[in-house]
Symmetry: C2
Subunit: 446 residues, 2 copies
């Protein structure tokens, strides 16, 4: 068998014998000629076969030509096959200016004739048949963008001597709160909990003297909500660094990280994103705008939106309003909202000595929160006080508090939802569109 050639390599290849492998996207079975669009992971190409039909007058025909025509007539969409044929450059062929005249074909696995979904099927139905849905060019591109985005982030960190950690997802106690927690029966009637975030363990790397670390890994929330932004399992991008003076050091790293990663995506996939998603990737300038929460609320109020929340935070519409303000004022898609009140932040967020507000931020991207970042409280006595204030029992947190009893550096970090970033980067309206296999309260399969 001759060596497989990728579809993207055909244009620069000379006319002559060639072998391609992929799946059948469409078959146009005309009386005198048959066209097959074959797609592989790099593109699509037109295959052509001059049809040989049984002659009406009973004239004998070439048996193998008849068989080939018949095989092509019966090709179901989705069938994976290898085709040997003659490559020919032809400007008239819209699809890449090349065509392959089919010599022979070898079916790897035939598809059932009825494809259960179409490109315009509803999201839930597409998710039922996600393995077919992912064959769409747009969906394939989403995961190539994801690959590039993540690798650019990891490369940014590794060039700066960060250590990659894999923190455990099975824990003896909750990592964030007692709500939205998945329990796992463990050996001998013990109970484990699925990590809601790597929070405690990435802080542990700081007291272990690792300096700067990152992790990209699953996190789990038994979150019963059905919004476009929530999942019970999601990929969390986490970083944590020592010797920060405030959350500002974390924010500065994060904005550079995002700028670098989005630039890499634009360089590699910008044209294709424009073609398939109809939008231009914008490389954000640094520094990103920063607005204290109280000021953000005033801006939103001045725009005529009355935030119904009474806890002092923004709600989703408030986030969209402040994003619109930032876009109009600074021409920027990102904004750090800073200076949150301790009441609406986790107990481990450090507080500013003067204002009493937390040294933390949320990062909004096109009006949607993608990150919470903060300097962490590393002084164990203060940490215990703050935990008590939240009604937490320090005894239950003892394994975590121990981290800070044998020395600790000042440190901070952020957690960022990968699917949210991708959703916003590609102008999608749900994380389900950009998640390989979404998991929600009523969605565990495929």
């Amino acid at each position: 068998m001759s060596e497989r050639v990728l579809v993207k390599q055909l244009q620069s290849r000379a006319d002559g014998p060639v072998s391609v492998s992929g799946w059948v996207e469409t078959v146009r079975d005309q009386k005198k000629v048959q066209f097959v669009i074959l797609r592989d992971e790099t593109g699509a190409v037109q295959l052509v076969n001059p049809a040989t039909r049984p002659a009406e007058d009973g004239t004998e025909q070439d048996a193998s030509a008849l068989a080939l025509t018949d095989t092509i007539s019966n090709l179901a969409t989705g069938t994976f096959l290898t085709v040997q044929g003659e490559l020919k450059h032809d400007e008239r062929v819209k699809l890449g200016g090349v065509e392959i005249k089919i010599g022979g074909l070898d079916i790897a696995a035939a598809a059932l004739p009825e494809t259960p979904i179409a490109a315009d099927s509803g999201l839930d139905k597409r998710m039922d048949w996600r393995f077919l849905d992912l064959r769409q060019r747009r969906n394939n591109l989403i995961f190539r963008v994801q690959t590039t985005l993540e690798h650019a982030m990891r490369s940014y960190w590794i060039e700066r001597d960060y250590i990659e950690v894999h923190s455990p997802k099975l824990m003896a106690s909750p990592s964030e709160s007692n709500a939205e927690l998945f329990e796992v029966p463990y050996f001998e009637e013990k109970t484990a909990y699925l990590a809601q975030s790597p929070q405690f363990f990435k802080q542990m790397a700081q007291v272990a003297g690792f300096g700067k670390i990152f992790e990209i890994a699953p996190a789990f929330r038994a979150d019963p909500s059905f919004t476009s932004r929530h999942a019970t399992e999601f990929t969390s991008i986490d970083a944590e660094i020592s010797w920060v003076e405030s959350h500002e050091d974390v924010a500065r790293m994060q904005e550079q990280l995002l700028q670098t990663a989005i630039r890499t995506v634009k360089d590699k996939h910008g044209d294709e994103i424009e073609e398939l998603f109809g939008l231009e990737v914008v490389v954000p300038e640094v520094p990103f705008p920063r607005i204290p929460l109280a000021e953000a609320r005033e801006i939103v109020a001045a725009r005529g939106y009355d935030i119904p929340r009474t806890d002092g935070d923004l709600d989703p519409e408030g986030e969209r309003q402040i994003a619109a303000h930032v876009q109009e004022t600074f021409g920027h898609q990102f904004v750090f909202i800073t200076d949150y009140h301790p009441e609406i932040r986790a107990f481990y967020h450090m507080r500013d000595e003067e204002t009493g507000l937390t040294k933390s931020y949320d990062l909004l991207f096109n009006g949607v929160e993608i990150t919470t970042g903060a300097q962490r409280e590393h002084r164990v006595d203060v940490l215990i006080e703050q935990a008590k204030e939240k009604g937490l029992d320090p005894e239950h947190l003892d394994f975590y508090l121990d981290f800070f009893r044998y020395g600790a550096p000042p440190h901070g970090g952020f957690g960022m939802g990968l699917a949210r970033v991708l959703m916003l980067l590609l102008g999608q309206d749900s994380i389900r569109e950009v998640t390989y296999l979404f998991r929600g309260p009523t969605r565990l399969a495929p």
Copy 2:
């Protein structure tokens, strides 16, 4: 506050004022002079302070000098601090040829005076205090090696257009077998299972037309064993590629991947590994030796070891014997054992039409299995037959079998345990030594 300088930067820096941050490794509190070894994530440096003690004759002393001396006398090991001082190059200082005369110090968080473990504490005790254990240079190096190894692998794949996927760890049905399965109570009295491997979902990427994919992510096994090679949660390195002709295509990719990754580790950390672990990293030559299982058993028998297993597989001692043979014969640390009988392989391994043996391999590294790889059966009717043969009910596998009903390419891949590779690369005798936070039947914390 002046900018923090990393310890590794001190040698190339001119004498003068400097600020370093890290933790106290040792204090040598002599009557006339005090020495502190301060370590950060890049190295260790000697700090020095001419001690000022209360004069026995009552002479008044400089109060701040007295206070500084007193503070240093009371520094507990592990205390994190920032030190401002004067850098001085001095050949007589063994530790890097530099010294910092302490000007002032700023304690971030003081350690309790009694450190609960020492470098030579038992493994279990060190695991109880893993955040302190990780401060050891050796342990820090392990995770820098891990970082380099993984990034080199991902870079290898990304340069070859692989797509990175994040497959779900919550599943509606088991991914490997019904044994060793963690169950998770899910919404409304449903049950989810923790993924034992990404097997089904990385195969799904093949029928989705992704071509070549990889994933590095946690996998879970409710494995009650306490060996040095098993954990209930581990980091699995997985790849899967389309259009393979046999498991040989997978093996060729994997050996190149490992050669590239190990070469990168040797280039970046080879000297330090030699210093701290006393071993030379060997970059493996490709191709790795390949030995069919039946032949391997004969070789082991000829070496005088009688494998007690009756299922035809090697046992751990058999693996060590064959590794010794490979080292003696080929001077190689790796060997692919091939041609396993279907009885001792998963139902989805493809079988060779002539021999009836599976198109699969195990990869041994220094006598320990680190990988199973195989071509997968992509023909749904054959797959159903093979499942039945194993006593599996195809109905329970329906979501998986569906993947192959709408077209599928021939494909194959491997799964590799990160901790095993690290353990063997660094000559350690347990994966616990090279796992950030080990999880086992009796180990869920910290």
